[in-house]
């Protein structure tokens, strides 16, 4: 499978390099999860990237951007392999990578071995990537998993009156970060998280996991994505599950809400939080949705862009705008370009984004609820918009650092 795509890439880059003599090019490597559990997420990420190119164009002064795509499967080693291949074989100068949490941590560490190149995170959201020992040449224009959960815990406790919840999540860094954000806020408000179940990424048979869900809780939080989420919902329906659900940012997302079949209907009324909301009325968001819809025929896209499309759009936008500010000047180990990246304030579709001193995004978060549009399509409806969410989630940095790094058991369910 991967051989095929690599072969095609090699061929296409061969043709492209022939044409490259005429004009000076800036080579950018892009990775996306085009294989494995998160295939659908990677594909929609690439749609967001393409939408950004349609809107902004590929010209940087008299130079032109050239993009080379490599596929990964959400594992850290696949991401490092893809990035290494882009750097060593395709000689890219800038990377737009990667998509998934564990990949992000691995690529950030790899970025340190190439201080002369610049890495722009495409969509990954593990906290550790930019919070622990950040790489000076790694920039992230999307929020991390914990930031994307801001508002959900309080909403569940205050409005929905949930007091006890349990969580089920994929066993890797991004979902740890999401549960981290949820637990911190929900337990801080006075709620209890009684049970945290972790399943390996790529689990097919959830029947036993579903059977082990506790009955004595008010709601169950699902931190799953891609094929795992669809498998879970399908088997949840077969098992006749009826609990209240809460969703993580890639669970309540068009990648799942527009999947085939009727198992997704279990999600109607589910509350969630994410870096975007499908039905937000902000003109910038609506313009982006329109651009996305116009770029692809209806059967080749989702009814509305997924979080991944939005993230890839935002990171591509940062790349192009910063390059234009310095007129494509990548001399002196890309120093000017990096300075522009660090300073830039994005007017992204999902709200204003600026970077902190770790080169991590400060942005807007949305609490949402899933609604049926009456024609069988599901969308996330805005319940609450929270601007200026930073990586320490509004905590004092000293207090925040004592909580510990997101993991299967951190944070404890208490008020910090």
């Amino acid at each position: 499978m991967s051989k095929c795509s690599i072969g095609l890439l090699a061929l296409s880059s061969l043709f492209l390099s022939g044409a490259a003599i005429a004009q000076e090019k800036i080579k950018v490597g892009v990775t996306a999860t085009l294989e494995g559990t998160y295939t659908v997420l990677g594909e929609d990420g690439m749609r967001g990237h393409q939408t950004a190119l349609n809107v902004l164009g590929k010209k940087i002064g008299d130079k032109e951007l050239e993009f080379i795509v490599a596929s990964t499967d959400a594992t850290p080693d696949s991401a490092v392999r893809a990035v290494r291949k882009l750097i060593e074989q395709d000689k890219v100068q800038i990377l737009l990578s990667p998509l998934s949490g564990d990949e992000g941590i691995a690529v950030k560490n790899f970025a340190k071995t190439h201080p002369e190149l610049t890495f722009i995170n495409a969509a990954s959201g593990a906290q550790e990537t930019t919070y622990v020992d950040p790489a000076p040449n790694f920039f992230r224009y999307n929020m991390d998993g914990a930031q994307w959960q801001v508002g959900l815990g309080k909403y569940a406790y205050d409005e929905k009156k949930y007091r006890k919840i349990a969580t089920v999540g994929e066993d890797y860094s991004f979902i740890y970060t999401q549960v981290f954000g949820l637990v911190l806020e929900f337990c801080g408000a006075g709620g209890q998280v009684t049970n945290r179940q972790w399943v390996p990424l790529g689990t097919k048979d959830f029947a036993s996991v579903i059977a082990a869900l506790p009955d004595d809780v008010d709601a169950i939080y699902l931190g799953l994505g891609g094929a795992d989420a669809v498998n879970f919902l399908n088997q949840y329906q077969q098992a006749g599950g009826k609990a209240h659900l809460m969703g993580g940012s890639i669970m309540i997302d068009q990648t799942i809400l527009s999947s085939k079949g009727n198992a997704k209907n279990a999600l109607v009324g589910t509350i969630a939080a994410s870096g975007q909301a499908d039905t937000w009325e902000d003109p910038g968001w609506q313009k982006f949705v329109k651009a996305y819809q116009d770029a692809f025929p209806p059967n080749k896209r989702f009814p509305s862009p997924s979080l991944l499309a939005t993230n890839y759009y935002g990171s591509t936008m940062a790349l192009i705008l910063a390059l234009r500010q310095v007129n494509g000047d990548l001399s002196n180990n890309q120093a000017k370009f990096r300075e522009a990246l660090a300073k830039i304030e994005l007017d992204a579709p999902n709200g204003k984004i600026k970077l902190d001193s770790n080169r991590q995004a400060i942005g807007t978060n949305f609490v949402t609820e899933v609604v049926d549009d009456g024609k069988g399509a599901l969308f996330s409806k805005v319940v609450k918009v929270i601007p200026n969410v930073n990586q320490t989630l509004g905590y004092d940095p000293a207090v925040f650092s004592k909580i510990g790094l997101p993991s299967r058991t951190v944070p404890e369910c208490k008020k910090y």
Partner: protein, 336 residues
């Protein structure tokens, strides 16, 4: 059976005790102390049932694999591709016609046809060269995987369960007793029970066909010594083609089953090839009862493992395989 008890009294005793304990765990109401020690009975019962039904799916895939190996000594490493192909065909049929049952029939026929083509065009040319055949099947599995990726994309597909199979049923097994004294029964997904029943029916039918019919007699004779069988005037090539078609068709059916209660995507072919390899290594290459026993053991190990030792669940199946290879390398139910 009685010979086994005579020869290995200690093992027989251990087996009988294990079965008795298992039956007690399934049918009794658990005392509170036990619930505290290993969790609720509902979780345990569900894991056991899931293991058995997953074993049913593994049996469907592995029985075709082991049948083909038993007769033709051909380790068909493209068997996983046939599984995935059957699943995609089933998906296409069920979405276009809306009929779940029809998707099984079409998937069986089309995968069987692919099996016939494979046998006639490829394997007949290199008959008796086991290693060469195996290498060719590896190559074919890579080609098939790429072709299917090209045709169906990297997306995951799920075959719609018919509405009469959606939802759970109450089984007459008590999981707990409420404080009011009212028993709580086990609720279990209907579709998994139906699929398990179907795989038992297929397994029994296969056993009957192999042991009670003329064609079954020919196949068994071929497994023992195909040269002598050919010398007696049986049209051995025709038997080969039929067996290959049937084994492939079973993989196709399994694909539809897998697509219904799990999902189909690139990579599933390798997963099920690996599963059926482990199953037949544990059960014994070429033995149908061995495939059934192996599938049951692997299914149970996977599901119980995922509940009670989630971190190491993946290791358990391979541990079992290593143990079997160390103690009884020919497999649990192999004849030789």
């Amino acid at each position: 059976m009685s010979r086994f008890i005579e020869r290995h009294p200690a093992w027989a005793l251990i087996t009988i005790i294990a079965i008795a304990v298992l039956l007690w765990l399934i049918f009794s109401v658990w005392p509170p102390g036990l619930e505290e020690a290993i969790g609720r009975k509902r979780v345990f019962l569900n894991a056991v049932f899931n293991g058995i039904t997953l074993g049913g799916l593994y049996f469907l895939v592995a029985s075709g694999f082991t049948l083909i190996f038993g007769l033709m000594r051909n380790v068909n490493l493209a068997h996983g591709s046939l599984y995935l192909f059957g699943g995609y065909v089933g998906y296409a049929v069920s979405t276009s016609t809306g009929s779940w049952t029809l998707s099984f029939i079409v998937a069986f026929i089309l995968t069987a046809l692919v099996g016939v083509l494979l046998q006639v065009i490829v394997f007949r040319r290199m008959e008796g060269q086991d290693l060469r055949q195996t290498m060719v099947t590896i190559g074919l599995s890579i080609v098939f995987a790429d072709l299917m990726l090209w045709a169906c994309g990297g997306d995951f597909y799920q075959i719609q369960t018919p509405s009469w199979l959606i939802g759970p049923v109450d089984l007459p097994l008590i999981t707990a007793v409420k404080s009011s004294g009212e028993p709580v029964y086990l609720r279990y997904p209907m579709v998994r029970l139906v699929i398990f029943a179907a795989s038992v029916v297929i397994g029994v039918a296969m056993w009957l066909a192999l042991n009670r019919t003329r064609i079954g007699m020919i196949i068994r004779a071929g497994v023992d010594d195909r040269d002598i069988l050919a010398a007696t005037g049986v049209r051995i090539q025709l038997v080969f083609v039929l067996v290959f078609a049937f084994g492939a068709g079973l993989a196709g059916i399994a694909g539809v089953v897998g697509g219904t209660f799990q999902s189909l995507s690139p990579g599933e072919d390798i997963r099920f090839l690996l599963a059926s390899l482990v199953v037949v290594i544990v059960g014994g290459m070429g033995s149908i009862p061995g495939a059934a026993l192996g599938a049951l053991i692997i299914g149970l190990a996977e599901q119980l493992g995922s509940v009670y030792i989630p971190t190491y669940a993946i290791v358990v199946t391979f541990l079992i395989m290593v143990l079997v290879l160390a103690i009884r390398p020919q497999g649990l139910l192999a004849r030789r």
